[in-house]
């Protein structure tokens, strides 16, 4: 009670308390004087005596203030005010310090908000840390982590010992029609236990049951986005019939807004997968995503070992080389490559901040010498070591706080830039300055303030108490603080080298990606999808595709148009097994090739190059002996050193009724799987001859003479003139696709390069600062040396050598660290092996050049010092 009351009084009624104390001291003085007068002194003498008794009334009041409760708050406030005064008194120093800190704290805040969103924030599932994905280990066909098959899911679910349950999902594009324009939806066909495995519940309505899944009932669960967009968020959507691919489905439930699941954030509809008994014999039907929940107490590692062994057993009866299974944490799958790039970028931004702190520590150490007298005066006036350190630390924290405020302003645009880094597998996120991020930057600011403030504060307090007032201040502490400053210089140089080198490697990788030969001419090509679910019958489908292409070609400005089963360069693994003449079925089960079904003039439309043989032409009509074109990877893998032309193979199915395809041409690699993805063997067939394939040529590519997007309305009309109800979806240019796929690498490169340049700038500033301080401090010594016959060249060498030695030490350490760092970044190199030598050479030369300037300026100044002036320098 008393405590609270006095604390309140001292803190909030500070002025009254102070006035009261003032009056009390004055009254005391008068009473004392009165007493002295009563003892026989004259009035003036009595006053003097009283004043002597009291001593310094300011000191007296200080002593009283110290015993008050809440005195520390007052101290803090005073130090804070003095910190602000220091900021105002040294505007140049403060501006540099705040700007560096703002950069450091700003980029770290932004980076943290992205890391938080992707790697830390809870996922929209119950206990998401227990969720894993299960994949096939298809290392024999170059895919160590591949989609699994329906029978594997079935066997795993029955026989595993490590999961409470396993759910499966399959791709399921669907066209929604009925009210309004037909819309192509991203959908998934899922097992009924998906929701219970994820621990996700619908916002309204219900999800489907095992029974509905088993019976193949047409029901659907829709996304919040679709509900709002198409049904106006009305609750009477429940029980409504929607038309998917021309079939009626009943809407059972709506998922909450924050729900999403692999493989993409924009999935709008989930329908029962309803596996049939026949599906459970398709051991090569690789399009199943499996997600499972670990049993309590089971680790990911245990599950991985158990599942690898289980799948070897399960697949043994069906393959010569049974395959293992791979188990990965769901969070890792969702974050994907972004995880590495975020961690690398966070490390880089932390390094920038660290360099900024090191620089400030150096600046403060140098300034500490200047302020030595001020600190010494305080010490002489009775400030204890603790008080001095506290005061200096609070000054640093004031700087850090101002830096943080400026940094937050800087963080916001950086966050906008980082948003596009969030992977497509995760919810679309708007990075915001929420309390988590603010707490983080506050923490960073405090840590930074303590980091750069502590050493100088300790040093200053030490010096002040030892010898502050004794002389002009070239004390014995100099040597030790120099050594410490040199250590700081070497470490910040090393950090800068690491950033520069890794930045250089990324730059190299990015240039490599930009210059990759896509295998096609990407400019002025429009692509879109025309779902073909209304044309299940093969002949009708061929007729429709030919008709729509013909109508599109008639549009003015269209050079050519063609169809393909998968839009080129979009990440997509539609692949199947092949059997070359003379091979056994078992050999065939271990070799896959991408399968693409195209219209006759596809290759000329996209601008592919022929290596050997011919492209498809008018002679390739429907036939019992169809032809195929393969890519170079396919040719090299199966026909090393000889021509594959005329060779025959079966594709996707074998037996007496299966077609034998004759290879008529080899095409130069087209990056069908994505710009930065590895090349794989690929087989192209003409759609007219592909009646034994399930692939539908629903993708359309159009080469135009003008801007590709200008013909979009005309294209829609052309298609609708063939079929009034035909949906046209996912309209984009090839250049859009390339740009989107390169945006991740390009942002990583831009950010890391920016961080690296910042680091270089800061490190050279640091070197300059320390050396020029050393010159100022050693002016006397320089004078003596010159008086004893040292030439100005000797002096130049003396200082230049010191700086260059520090730089070279930092360079050596930095290079070693850079090589280590680059090893952990390999996924950012997209399979490309960058050459370290040019990066290291360029970095070394740059650093030495920058360091030469940073050392040269102060060294020259030292060599031009006039010895007579220098000797008088105090």
């Amino acid at each position: 009670m008393i405590l609270l009351r006095s604390l309140f009084r001292n803190v909030f009624r500070h002025r009254e308390v102070e006035q009261d104390l003032d009056a009390e001291v004055r009254a005391h003085l008068e009473l004392l004087a009165e007493q002295h007068a009563a003892n026989g002194m004259d009035e003036a003498a009595a006053r003097r005596a009283a004043q002597i008794d009291i001593g310094s009334s300011a000191g007296l009041k200080d002593a009283v203030r110290d015993v008050r409760r809440g005195a520390w708050i007052e101290h803090l406030w005073r130090d804070f005010e003095s910190g602000l005064r220091q900021v105002r008194r040294n505007p140049m120093f403060s501006a540099v310090a705040i700007a560096t800190l703002a950069l450091g704290i700003g980029v770290n805040t932004a980076m943290f908000s992205a890391v938080d969103a992707v790697l830390i924030r809870p996922l929209p599932y119950d206990d998401a840390g227990r969720l894993v994905m299960i994949w096939d280990d298809m290392s024999r066909t170059d895919s160590p982590k591949f989609f699994s098959t329906p029978p594997e899911w079935h066997e795993w679910r029955l026989n595993n010992t490590v999961f409470t349950d396993i759910a499966a999902t399959e791709p399921g594009l669907a066209t929604l029609s009925g009210d309004g324009e037909p819309e192509e939806l991203a959908g998934r066909r899922v097992t009924a236990n998906l929701w219970s495995v994820l621990g996700a519940r619908p916002l309204i309505g219900r999800v489907f049951t095992e029974d509905e899944d088993a019976r193949g009932v047409r029901v659907a669960v829709i996304s919040y986005g679709l509900w709002q967009r198409r049904f106006g968020g009305s609750p009477d959507v429940l029980g409504r019939k929607v038309t998917l691919n021309d079939k009626p489905y009943e809407v059972l439930g709506v998922m909450p807004r924050e729900f999403y699941f692999m493989p993409a954030r924009d999935i709008d509809i989930w329908i029962p997968v309803s596996f049939s008994v026949a599906d459970f014999t398709k051991w090569s039907w690789h399009d199943v995503h499996c997600v499972a929940r670990l049993k309590p107490g089971v680790t990911v590692r245990q599950a991985a070992e158990s599942m690898a062994a289980l799948n070897l057993r399960v697949t043994a009866p069906h393959f010569d080389h049974p395959r293992a299974a791979v188990v990965t944490p769901l969070r890792e799958e969702l974050a994907g490559k972004t995880q590495t790039s975020l961690i690398v970028l966070l490390c880089a931004s932390a390094s920038v901040l660290l360099i900024a702190c090191v620089n400030l520590a150096n600046l403060l150490l140098s300034r500490g010498a200047v302020r030595r007298r001020e600190v010494a005066v305080r010490a002489a006036l009775g400030a204890g070591r603790g008080q001095l350190i506290a005061q200096l630390l609070i000054e640093s924290l004031v700087l850090a706080g101002l830096g943080a405020i400026a940094g937050l302003a800087l963080a916001v645009p950086v966050m906008r830039f980082l948003e596009t880094l969030v992977p497509e597998t995760m919810a679309s996120l708007r990075l915001t300055l929420d309390w988590r991020v603010l707490a983080f930057s506050t923490g960073v600011a405090i840590a930074a303030g303590l980091t750069f403030g502590l050493m100088p504060a300790l040093g200053a307090a030490q010096i002040a108490l030892q010898d502050g007032l004794r002389d002009g201040g070239r004390g014995s502490a100099g040597a030790r603080s120099h050594r410490f400053q040199y250590v700081l210089i070497v470490s910040e140089t090393a950090l800068a080298v690491v950033l520069l080198t890794t930045g250089g490697l990324l730059l190299q990788t990015f240039r490599h990606l930009r210059q990759l030969d896509l295998g096609i001419r990407p400019e002025r090509v429009l692509t879109f999808v025309t779902p073909l679910f209304r044309y299940r019958a093969f002949d009708r489908r061929v007729a429709f595709v030919d008709a729509e292409l013909e109508h599109i070609r008639a549009i003015p400005g269209v050079v050519n148009a063609a169809a393909i089963s998968r839009i080129p360069l979009t990440v997509n693994d539609q692949s199947t097994f092949y059997l070359l003449a003379g091979q056994t079925n078992k050999e065939a089960a271990e070799q896959v090739a991408l399968s693409r079904v195209v219209s006759r003039d596809y290759f000329t439309t996209v601008g592919a190059s022929l290596r050997e043989g011919r492209f498809f032409d008018g002679s390739d009509r429907r036939s019992e002996s169809p032809v195929a074109i393969v890519n170079e990877s396919f040719a090299e893998r199966n026909f090393p050193g000889r021509s594959p032309i005329g060779a025959r193979f079966q594709f996707g199915r074998w037996g007496s009724k299966a077609y034998w395809y004759t290879i008529v041409g080899v095409v130069k690699e087209i990056r069908d799987r994505g710009v930065a993805e590895e090349l794989r063997p690929a087989v192209y067939r003409v759609h007219e001859q592909a009646d034994q394939s399930g692939d539908e040529p629903s993708g359309i590519v159009v080469r135009t003479s003008g801007a590709a997007t200008s013909i979009v309305p005309a294209v829609r009309l052309a298609i609708w003139s063939v079929d009034r109800n035909q949906p046209v979806a996912r309209v984009q240019t090839i250049e859009d696709i390339v740009a989107r796929q390169l945006s991740g690498p390009s942002q990583n490169t831009v950010l890391l390069s920016a961080f690296a340049l910042l680091a270089l700038l800061l490190a050279s500033l640091g070197l300059y600062g320390v050396l020029s301080y050393a010159v100022t401090q050693r002016t006397n010594e320089i004078g003596v040396r010159m008086a004893l016959g040292a030439t100005s060249n000797d002096i130049l060498l003396l200082f230049g050598r010191r700086g260059m030695l520090l730089t070279l030490a930092g360079l050596a350490i930095g290079m070693a660290l850079a090589v280590l760092a680059a090893r952990s970044m390999t996924t950012l190199f997209y399979g490309f092996r960058p050459d370290y030598v040019p990066a290291l050479v360029v970095v070394s030369l740059t650093l030495v050049a920058v360091a030469a300037v940073a050392c040269g300026v102060p060294a020259r100044r030292a060599s031009h010092i006039d010895p007579t002036v220098a000797l008088l320098h105090e």
Partner: protein, 111 residues
């Protein structure tokens, strides 16, 4: 820097102040005078020690202060014991006796 003469053990000064106020309220100069009297001139408490001590005791709730008029009709700040302060005298006394007994023993042991 405090002078040796007033550099009392803090507890001692607190005890002396509380003792000086046992009969009646008084102002700073009066308290100094009374301590001088009751210690027979041994302790001459300087304002530099007295002021922090008075405020410390007030913060603890053992003294209360009020503005009043001195004998010569001057404004002065008067301090008086609170009930808690009265109880504290016994505690301080016990402390002091323990300390002085210990010191007496120590001196005997070394001489």
């Amino acid at each position: 820097m405090p002078t040796p003469k007033t550099d009392l053990l803090r507890g001692t000064l607190d005890l002396l102040i509380l003792r000086a106020l046992i009969l009646d309220r008084d102002h700073g100069v009066g308290i100094t005078r009374r301590i001088h009297q009751i210690t027979r001139g041994t302790f001459d408490v300087k304002p530099g020690s007295l002021f922090p001590a008075l405020h410390r005791l007030e913060e603890r709730g053992w003294l209360a202060s009020e503005w009043g008029e001195s004998e010569n009709r001057r404004r002065a700040k008067y301090y008086k014991l609170t009930p808690a302060g009265r109880r504290q005298i016994d505690t301080e006394l016990a402390n002091w006796q323990r300390v002085s007994a210990a010191i007496a023993w120590a001196i005997k042991a070394t001489s």
